[in-house]
Subunit: 221 residues, 2 copies
Amino acid sequence: MPKLVAGDIATALRKRISSGEWEDRIPPERDLAGEFGVARNTVRRAVGLLEEDGTLVRQVGRGTFVAAADPNSMAAAFTRMEGTSPADMMEIRLLLEPAAAGFAATNASAGELNAVRDAYQTACEATDMPEFEHWDAEFHHRIFACSRNEFLKELHNLMRILRNQSPWFEMKKRSFSEERRQTYCVEHEAILDRLLRRDPEGARAAMLAHLQTVAKNLLGR
Amino acid sequence: MPKLVAGDIATALRKRISSGEWEDRIPPERDLAGEFGVARNTVRRAVGLLEEDGTLVRQVGRGTFVAAADPNSMAAAFTRMEGTSPADMMEIRLLLEPAAAGFAATNASAGELNAVRDAYQTACEATDMPEFEHWDAEFHHRIFACSRNEFLKELHNLMRILRNQSPWFEMKKRSFSEERRQTYCVEHEAILDRLLRRDPEGARAAMLAHLQTVAKNLLGR
DNA sequence: ATAGATTGGTTCAATATCGGTTCACTACAG
DNA sequence: CTGTAGTGAACCGATATTGAACCAATCTAT
């Protein structure tokens, strides 16, 4: 009785998957066959269709899983992020950091702005590259800290962790020079100035300009 | 019997760890095995998972310990992100998603745009709320997928994972109605239209408008 | 200092469940 | 009659859990 059963079962499954009936693992094919009152081969066809369009993933000996399911594995997301390219991350920094500077200009407390200024000064006075690097990063991080958006702050933290991993290290070394350090100090000062004036639009623009310099130095364009 | 018990135990442990039940040392594997009514090997698998993502550290002859609260660790960053407020996340979505839409308008392949359109149509034709939710999320995700920025895509993934956690679930339920669903469809159509016209600025604006609607519904302003 | 207890590390065989494959058989549509 | 789709069954290989044994590192009490 060719009733196109496989297709019907596929759509039935699709519905029950998107309804969240199965968090990540769907029942074994043999069970589904019983439930739908159909041969296992037929269920296999249906599951095969959903596998082709990426809805399901099958694993021999384990079971069949809904593809989008990341029930627990934020860890997996992190692993994927480790492969982030400098260009991709720079693109995101260009989005987030100017916004953070804007938020900071309106939301920061006086004490927080002092902390930003301290980081700026310490970076300017730094004598070796690692020290400058540290206070440079700290300057940026403290701006995120006064954006008053915890999630934004954590995103910056995330990017910082990723950038502290191996492939980036070499790149930072190559792109560093005394001349650039001075440029960064001047640009940082401009950002700090706008923050202290509580000028969100100016802070945003100054941060954007600074990041464009960084991008040019880092990516060599 | 592939019951995939190890994963469940891992999440149970993760919960009890973040609840502060164990200050630094967790019970011996043999005890945990008894407590969970499971073989020690299975507990070892679970603990192994938590060790991989940096949550636990094992030491022969001493015991298993929760990793020192290193604020610069990925695991710690994720834990902090779990407390993200809807308002904070919405602020970031308003930054990232319009940008993603803009990138998508210029970078997407024809096939990718078809996938976006499919998600849009399926969402419109959805008959129940869970199905709509699923394809709505899929629509947004597929736009990120054609932004051609892997990091951006993963950030969206991250936000999706966070939003699938308990406090958000209730909120989504409350904010859903047939009228809003129709509004979303219209707005999605506008976004899709700009993408198909390869109009980055238009796509960005359409996405921004859509997210402002979502924000209003979600945060009730 | 030594002995014994505790703890994680490793290995193994047995068992059960799962998807992957094949095949002979049946039913229907063109 | 032929091609297509579903049936039912058997068997394969992969994976998970069990239960147990033994090792090696560490700690504790003597």
